[in-house]
């Protein structure tokens, strides 16, 4: 039994989703099952993490077809860390959705689709096969389409058309890349590709293929010229769905980028420059975009784009220190971005609007909540000792020691513009005088909530802020994990050996 632990993170959410389908018309039972399923997911994720930490990279050959022929699942430290974080986010959002998702929407299968999405994410993290990665991406996007359109409000449908089109095109580009890799090498197993690709004479072809992959993943993660679908759609669905997308969906694109560009196509001179330029432009345009927006959710959407630049920038420097920084930033970003959109949801309930102009007086009316909300906002800026600060140490020092001063300037620019934006958000929501807006009659405000409803909104935020604080105060734990990940990513023979090499160690 326990030798199959590697694929349990997928199976937990698959079984939860199937179980949820049996309670289609009973929203309350669905809510409990969803929370329970996510809690089991955390336990499984932690067990797998502990095993990978103790015994090294785990791999499993599905159907017992030996490595290059069958589909391999590989759990390395990067994959399992992301699975643990995904399950923590999923647990928090299951609690948040109990009150944020109305029963009529739950009856459209919200919780089941939610768990199918988490299953897709877990699968994308641990697969060791390029085509299988494509399949998991499709699982993710079809689930996200349903979550985005559930409820069918006018603005949701319009956002969904844009989201759908760009994601379909990115899948098609990704699949084109897969076809080209198969034509050039005759294999789709990532570990085998890492050995075949360096031996191919035609470097121009490999260069082209790697950029096709970059475009495919770039659309998904929202890098500079390809991000316009993101701010057009992320503010339309209910807060819990936005939080899920913001925390995890763009990061799976970054994960795929890190995996492909370290393992299969190690970055060369040309690609490094292309990635650096794009990372810089992503930070610039994301920051400027956030500055002009007047709606809090759209400000946060543009901040996602701005901070994607940090991860792509870290990858583009392509030293172990920079990769450690990028991975650390990814951990921090997953937690904080999910918290931010939940904050947006609570603020929408408090003020009845998401426009910054109409907000105000949060500090006078809700001093304790303001203190809670301040932590993720300051962590985003990177105020020491909060979590955004630690990854930047690695990123700044790597870009300085590599002599990439332009990259360093862009990192500093993005940090400063984030500070300006958060100051703007702080001014208009917390410290400004309260706006006496007319109350909407058919709208349930935060003050009208019962204790249970308030708890369902606030407890998940406290949970994720707790994780942020843990990250902030015990950053060395994350640093150790990230350093091991950096070592595994830069020395690909460990991955290769886990898939092909000594079997008696991996298959007990």
């Amino acid at each position: 039994m326990s030798e199959h632990l590697t694929i349990y993170p997928i199976i937990v959410h698959l079984l939860t989703a199937i179980l949820l389908l049996f309670f289609w018309m009973k929203p309350n039972i669905q809510r409990y099952i969803s929370i329970f399923g996510s809690a089991v997911g955390i336990v499984i994720g932690a067990l797998l993490f502990q095993r990978v930490w103790a015994e090294g990279i785990q791999s499993i050959q599905l159907g017992n077809w030996q490595a290059p022929f069958g589909i391999t699942m590989v759990a390395d430290t990067l994959a399992v860390s992301l699975i643990v974080l995904t399950n923590i986010i999923s647990f928090a959002l299951s609690i948040f959705s109990t009150k944020n998702m109305v029963s009529s929407r739950v009856k459209f299968g919200y919780h089941a689709i939610f768990h199918f999405l988490i299953m897709g994410l877990s699968g994308a993290f641990i697969t060791g096969d390029l085509f299988s990665l494509y399949v998991w991406f499709e699982v993710i996007i079809i689930s996200s389409f349903v979550l985005l359109t559930i409820g069918g409000r006018k603005i949701q449908i319009e956002g969904a058309v844009k989201y759908f089109t760009l994601n379909m095109i990115s899948s098609i580009i990704f699949l084109t890349g897969i076809a080209m890799v198969y034509g050039a090498t005759g294999s789709l197993n990532m570990a085998e590709l890492s050995r075949i690709i360096p031996e191919i004479e035609n470097k121009g072809l490999i260069q082209t293929i790697s950029l096709v992959f970059f475009i495919g993943f770039g659309v998904k993660s929202g890098v500079f010229p390809l991000y316009f679908w993101l701010p057009a759609s992320y503010h339309t669905p209910p807060a819990v769905v936005s939080a899920l997308f913001a925390g995890l969906l763009t990061k799976v694109g970054i994960y795929a980028m890190i995996r492909v560009f370290t393992l299969i196509f190690p970055l060369g001179e040309v690609n490094q420059v292309i990635l650096m330029v794009i990372a810089g432009l992503t930070m610039f345009f994301g920051g400027i975009g956030a500055l002009v927006q007047k709606d809090i959710l759209r400000v946060f959407s543009y901040l996602i784009i701005c901070h994607i630049g940090f991860m792509v920038g870290g990858l583009s420097l392509f030293t172990e220190v920079a990769i450690v920084g990028a991975v650390m930033y990814m951990f921090h970003d997953i937690i904080v971005k999910a918290t931010l959109f939940m904050l947006g949801g609570v603020m929408f309930r408090i003020f009845g609007t998401t426009r910054l102009k109409d907000m105000g007086g949060l500090m006078d009316n809700y001093p304790r909540l303001s203190l809670l909300f301040a932590i993720p906002l300051f962590a985003l800026v990177g105020v020491p000792p909060l979590s955004g600060f630690w990854p930047k140490v690695s990123l700044f020092s790597a870009s300085y020691s590599e002599g990439e001063i332009a990259m360093l300037v862009m990192f500093i620019f993005a940090s400063l513009i984030t500070l300006v934006i958060i100051a703007k958000v702080w001014n208009s929501t917390f410290s400004k005088k309260e706006n006496k807006l007319e109350k909407r009659a058919s709208f349930k405000y935060f003050t009208d909530f019962s204790f249970a409803e308030k708890a369902a909104y606030i407890v998940p935020i406290i949970l994720l802020v707790g994780v942020t604080l843990y990250y902030s105060l015990f950053a060395e734990h994350f640093q150790v994990v990230a350093e091991r990940i950096g070592n595994e990513l830069m020395n690909t023979e460990q991955y290769y050996n886990a898939v092909f090499g000594i079997k008696e160690e991996t298959k007990l």
Binding site: V135, E138, V161, I172, A179, T236
Partner: protein, 117 residues
């Protein structure tokens, strides 16, 4: 045969991209469908074409002998077709819904989500 299929793939990609760039929602979906078919054809072509040699072990044999058609691209295409079929049916429902709710087929008028208000 390879030349013909390569040209065909190119035509499908070009036609798909052209249709995606049009302003109509229906043409957008048709463009995505055509692009999807272009990709499937590309995968098929990349496996290499072998005529009349299916990858089947004869009854009296133990292993495949000589040149045989690569079965992997066919499995990949089959998977990709099924996935794109599901996505395309979702897309058709979505544009039907979008037409009913937004009362327009023109992509250029769909700019409510990008307004700075």
């Amino acid at each position: 045969m390879e030349i013909l299929l390569a040209i065909m793939t190119g035509i499908l990609y070009a036609a798909g991209i052209y249709l995606i760039l049009r302003r109509s929602l229906v043409k957008l979906i048709i463009g995505i469908v055509i692009l999807g078919n272009g990709v499937n054809l590309l995968i098929f072509l990349m496996g290499g074409l072998v005529k009349g040699r299916p990858p089947l072990i004869p009854e009296d044999g133990k292993a495949l002998e000589g040149l045989f058609a690569d079965p992997v691209p066919q499995a990949l295409i089959l998977t990709a077709i099924v996935i794109s079929f599901g996505l395309q049916s979702f897309a058709i429902v979505l544009i039907n819904r979008a037409y009913k709710v937004l009362k327009t087929d023109d992509i250029d008028t769909m700019n409510k989500t990008d307004d700075i208000t």
